[in-house]
Structures are given as structure tokens and as C-alpha cells.
């Protein structure tokens, strides 16, 4: 397991993994950790200072900021991960169908991808949310619809690379069904590429979902979400600027951790190849 050794020796990667794990766990166990109900306003305690009862203070409605932050993990981070997983599944499915099927199927899927990739996913997401209307479900759907083509194309090229390897030929001559070959030989081989792609892009998905929520196109009030919290903080910026700090720092830390981790995983898997240019030569 050279991969694990490399990851273990990379301090930065370990820090990132710990941060991400801590964030994910606090999101999952938010009901047990959160000191207050994130939705319950307490107008008497609005803009409370940091205290034992409100570890991060309260917002303009007197809701506990820490609780909202913790519950926000569920909408911001966990939902982004789910979106990512869904996008990957759709992309992998189409990528395998195109790469493995070849011929006319390949041609059709790739032309569809060309159309979707001819303009950036931001515009695509905005277009879909625009047509279907604001709302969290539509934002998630739009993110999947806008991004799957990119993965489909990447995975197709990996599949084609692997398809002509000897062990696949051998499996085919031995009379294995296509499904068996895909399950047993192709998927494990491309799994590592998929993981790298997923980690590298999770930060982007978080930014995209919270950005749309910031514009009030995604999550609707009063659901706690980091982008939404920033949007609320914007309105009271002149009087209570500190409200902007907590959700902003939360997004920054999480996104940066995912980005760093993606780079580390990629370095550990294939030191020579570079998916993104984010880690430069040192």
C-alpha cells in the first residue's frame, strides 16, 4: 500500500483529512452536539456576545450561531457530497456505456457532452435553476445536470485506455459477460481516477451550492446553510460585521481542506500526472 504510506507521510493531507472528518461527524451528530435549536428565534438574546450559553453568539433573530453552523454542515457539506456522488454515478454510467459500447452509442453520448460542455457549468446551473425555479432540489438537479458530462468524458477516456488491456481481453475470451467485466475488472481499475476527480471537485460543489444559496436561489430561509447565513449577515453588515466571519471561515476552511486533500491524493497516486495545476513544482 504505497498510496497509504505516501498519504501518511504527508502532514498536510492528514490535517485536511482530520478537518474534513471532524466537519462531517459534527454534521451527522449535529442534533447531539448543537446547544440550541437552530431554528428557534429568541429576540431577547439577539446579537448576543460570545458566552457559555452561546459559544459563537447569536444572529439577528437571536438564533444560536454555533447550532446553525453545525446544522448548516448538513445542507452545505453533506448535500454537496451527495450531489457529488450522484453526479459521479451518472457520469460513470454514461462514461462506461460510451467507452465500453463504442460506435454509435459512443458518438451520441459524446455529442451530447459536447453541447453541455460548450459553455461553463455556472451558466448551465443558472439556466436550469432559472427555468425550474429557485429551490434546493432544483439546485442539486442543476449541479448534476451541468457537471455529469465532464465526468462522463473523463471516465470514457479512462475506460477506453483500460479496455484494450490484456486482462480484459482474457476475461472476454474466457466467456465473461460484459456486465461481469465492467463490475470485476473495469470499475476497480478506474476507481482511483474517480476518487481523485471527486475530491478535487467537492470544494467546487460546496462553493457552487452555497453561492446559489447566497443569492437566495438555493436553500430557502430559515433552513441553516452557510451561504444563506452569509446572505443574512450581508443585510446587517453596517451594524454587526462580525456576523460575516463565522460562516465565511467555515466555507473557507472546508473548501481549502478538500482542495489540499485532492492535490495530496493525486500526488500520492500518480506523482507525475497532474490533474489540476493547483500544486506547483516546488
Amino acid at each position: 500500500m504505497l498510496f497509504w504510506q505516501r498519504i501518511k507521510s504527508d502532514t498536510l493531507a492528514i490535517i485536511c483529512i482530520s478537518i474534513i472528518l471532524a466537519v462531517l461527524l459534527s454534521g451527522v451528530f449535529a442534533p447531539f452536539i448543537a446547544p440550541h435549536d437552530p431554528l428557534k428565534p429568541d429576540l431577547k438574546a439577539k446579537f448576543a456576545q460570545i458566552s457559555r450559553e452561546y459559544p459563537l453568539g447569536t444572529d439577528h433573530l437571536g438564533r444560536c450561531t454555533l447550532s446553525r453552523l453545525l446544522y448548516g454542515i448538513r445542507t452545505t457539506v453533506l448535500l454537496s457530497l451527495l450531489t457529488m456522488a450522484a453526479t459521479l454515478s451518472v457520469g460513470t454510467l454514461f462514461g462506461i456505456v460510451a467507452g465500453f459500447g463504442g460506435g454509435r452509442v459512443d458518438e451520441t453520448v459524446m455529442r451530447l457532452c459536447d453541447i453541455l460542455l460548450s459553455f461553463p457549468s455556472e451558466v448551465m446551473i443558472l439556466a436550469i435553476v432559472g427555468m425550474l425555479g429557485p429551490g434546493l432540489a432544483n439546485v442539486v438537479f442543476a449541479s448534476i445536470a451541468a457537471k455529469w458530462a465532464w465526468y462522463a468524458r473523463m471516465i470514457r477516456s479512462t475506460v477506453i485506455q483500460h479496455k484494450s488491456k490484456n486482462h480484459i481481453y482474457f476475461a472476454r475470451v474466457s466467456g465473461c459477460s460484459s456486465l461481469h467485466i465492467i463490475q470485476k475488472h473495469l470499475l476497480p481499475a478506474i476507481a482511483c481516477d474517480i476518487t481523485v476527480l471527486a475530491t478535487l471537485d467537492t470544494g467546487w460543489v460546496i462553493l457552487s451550492i452555497s453561492g446559489l444559496s447566497f443569492l437566495s436561489l438555493g436553500v430557502q430561509a430559515p433552513t441553516p446553510e452557510w451561504g444563506m447565513m452569509l446572505n443574512e449577515a450581508k443585510n446587517i453588515m453596517t451594524t454587526h460585521p462580525c456576523q460575516m466571519l463565522v460562516p465565511g471561515l467555515a466555507i473557507l476552511t472546508t473548501v481549502a481542506s478538500f482542495n489540499f486533500l485532492g492535490d495530496s491524493i493525486q500526488d500520492a497516486l500518480e506523482p507525475k500526472r497532474n490533474y489540476s495545476e493547483s500544486r506547483e513544482k516546488r
Binding site: I115, F119, A127, G130, M131, G133, P247, E277
Partner: protein, 311 residues
């Protein structure tokens, strides 16, 4: 001759892409949960009784079959007629026409900031590679880039508008109001180009012509100028490619700073369910991207004949 053929090939390849995009822009609306006729009535504050809805459907042409509607819409769009806004009955083409100049102005200032900062910093960091300044600046750039643009925008607005009162918080009044949105927008892109230029220069430093120049005893200044010239070429292409991306990427920044551009128009259209504007926005953005990538490909084929021959 080959370049001409290549260009013709590329233009032909664009047509199915554009048809596909217009198809998407048109049919997504039929997926929408709400009836456009009803939406149009509601925003004009008319109670949607069945009769009124029916007559509105006729007026908007919604009673015809889908494909005929698509053909009609496409024909009108090709002539620049995107219909009227549901909200204020103004022509969509005028609404968008009014929003484009502010966005272009914002993008132009942003581009100026991106190129000046990344070129100057890229050169300085490449020349003093590995120095403390290089490392600190790279770390700084990395963290600034990791910050979400909507947060940076708010922080800048608070610091420079609320606290110091140097710039207006929002709107478009005078030259100073463009600075904050442009800085916010450029922060996302600076790191990419800064890195590109820096790494290109470092790579070029190891080329033989540098060794030759040095052995001739040329001044360091002259050598740096030669390196710069060689490394800027690829960076300029990349910078050119970023123009359509910038135009499409102004949405969040325009909304924070209430900049009356096309991104803000689109978001308010989404809130109002003003479908004609959204459709026109999508179609124009798609056109912008397809045409820009065509121009860039063509220019690079022209500049570097090897690329044209390969295709």
C-alpha cells in the same frame, strides 16, 4: 488553404451545438412546474381565471404544438427578437442591451487588474524564485483564492465602504464604484494567471537561448525581457480564453454590489420567472462561448501553423 478548410470545418461543427443549446433553453421551460401563461398574468397582477389564462396562452402562442413553438421562437431569436419581458412588457433585447455595457465595463477593469497584477507579480516571483517574497506572495495568493467570492466581496465592502468610506457600497455611480466589484472578481482568477506566468518564466529560464544570451554577456535585464516575451505568449491565449468566462461569471459579484449588469438581470429574472429574459441570457452566453472558443482556436491556428495542420 488548410487554415481556411479548418475554419469552415469548425463553423459547421458549431451549428449542431447551437441547435442543441437552443433546444435545451426552450424545452427546459416545459419542464417547469408553473404555466408560463399563468406566471405572465400573475406578475401583471391579473387574477388568472381560466378564460384569461386561455387568452394569454393564445397571446403567448402556447396553444400551438411544442415543435412549432420552438421553430417560431428560434426564427424570431435569430432576428434578435426574444419577445417581451413578462414583468414590464419591454423588449427583452433592449433589457439585455442595457445590461451588457455595465458588465463589459466591469469585465474590462477586472481584466486590467488580473493582467497587471499577475504579470508584475509573476515576473517578480520568477526572477526571485525561492526568495522569502516569492513564498509569502504565493501563500497569500493561495489563501485569497480559496476564499469564496461572495465572502471576499462582503469583507471588501465592509472594510473599504463601511469602515473607511472610500468607495460606494453598491450601484454604478462614477469610476470608483467599479473598483470593489472588479477587485472581488479578479481575485478568483489572479492565482491561475500568476502561476501560469511564473511557471512559464521559470521553465523558460532553463532554455538554451538563455544560456546563450548569458554566455554572450547580455545584461540580466535584457535576458529577463527575452524570457518574458517568450513566456507571455501562452499566457495571453489563456487570458483571452478567460474573457467569456469572466462575462458569465459576474453573477455573484454583480448581485453583491448591485451592479446593473447582465448577471443581475438574469438573477432578478429568475426570481420573477421572467422566462424570455432567461432564455435570451442562456442563448447569448452559449453563443458567446462557442464564438469565443472558435476565435481563439482560429487565432492559435494562425499563429502556430502546426496546430492547423494536425486537424
Amino acid at each position: 488553404m488548410r487554415i481556411k478548410n479548418y475554419l469552415i470545418q469548425r463553423v459547421i461543427a458549431i451549428i449542431p451545438i447551437l441547435i442543441g443549446i437552443s433546444f435545451l433553453a426552450f424545452f427546459l421551460i416545459s419542464l417547469s412546474p408553473s404555466d408560463p401563461a399563468e406566471v405572465a398574468l400573475r406578475v401583471q397582477e391579473i387574477t388568472p381565471t381560466p378564460e384569461v389564462v386561455k387568452s394569454m396562452r393564445c397571446e403567448l402562442g402556447l396553444d400551438k404544438p411544442l415543435l412549432i413553438r420552438y421553430a417560431n421562437w428560434l426564427r424570431a431569436s435569430l432576428h434578435g427578437d426574444f419577445g417581451k419581458s413578462y414583468i414590464n412588457n419591454r423588449l427583452v433585447i433592449n433589457e439585455i442591451g442595457n445590461a451588457i455595457p455595465p458588465t463589459l465595463a466591469l469585465v474590462a477593469v477586472t481584466l486590467a487588474i488580473i493582467s497587471s497584477v499577475s504579470i508584475v507579480a509573476g515576473i517578480l516571483c520568477a526572477v526571485h524564485e525561492g526568495s522569502a517574497g516569492d513564498i509569502i506572495f504565493r501563500g497569500l495568493i493561495f489563501w485569497i483564492t480559496a476564499m469564496p467570492s461572495f465572502w471576499v466581496g462582503l469583507l471588501l465592502m465592509w472594510l473599504f465602504s463601511v469602515k473607511f468610506n472610500w468607495f460606494p457600497t453598491s450601484g454604478m455611480e462614477g469610476f470608483t464604484s467599479v473598483i470593489l466589484p472588479a477587485v472581488t472578481l479578479s481575485l478568483t482568477y489572479i492565482s491561475t494567471y500568476f502561476r501560469l506566468i511564473r511557471n512559464n518564466m521559470i521553465q523558460n529560464k532553463q532554455e538554451n537561448y538563455v544560456l546563450y544570451a548569458r554566455s554572450l554577456g547580455l545584461k540580466e535585464r535584457t535576458i529577463t525581457r527575452h524570457i518574458l516575451k517568450n513566456s507571455l505568449q501562452s499566457s495571453l491565449t489563456a487570458l483571452g480564453m478567460s474573457i467569456p468566462k469572466l462575462i458569465a461569471g459576474t453573477v455573484i459579484v454583480e448581485n453583491i454590489f448591485a451592479w446593473p449588469g447582465i448577471g443581475r438581470l438574469c438573477v432578478s429574472a429568475i426570481f420573477n420567472r421572467d422566462y424570455p429574459i432567461i432564455q435570451a441570457y442562456v442563448l447569448l452566453m452559449a453563443l458567446l462561448f462557442v464564438v469565443c472558443s472558435l476565435v481563439v482556436d482560429f487565432l492559435s491556428a494562425l499563429l502556430d501553423p502546426r496546430l492547423g495542420l494536425e486537424v
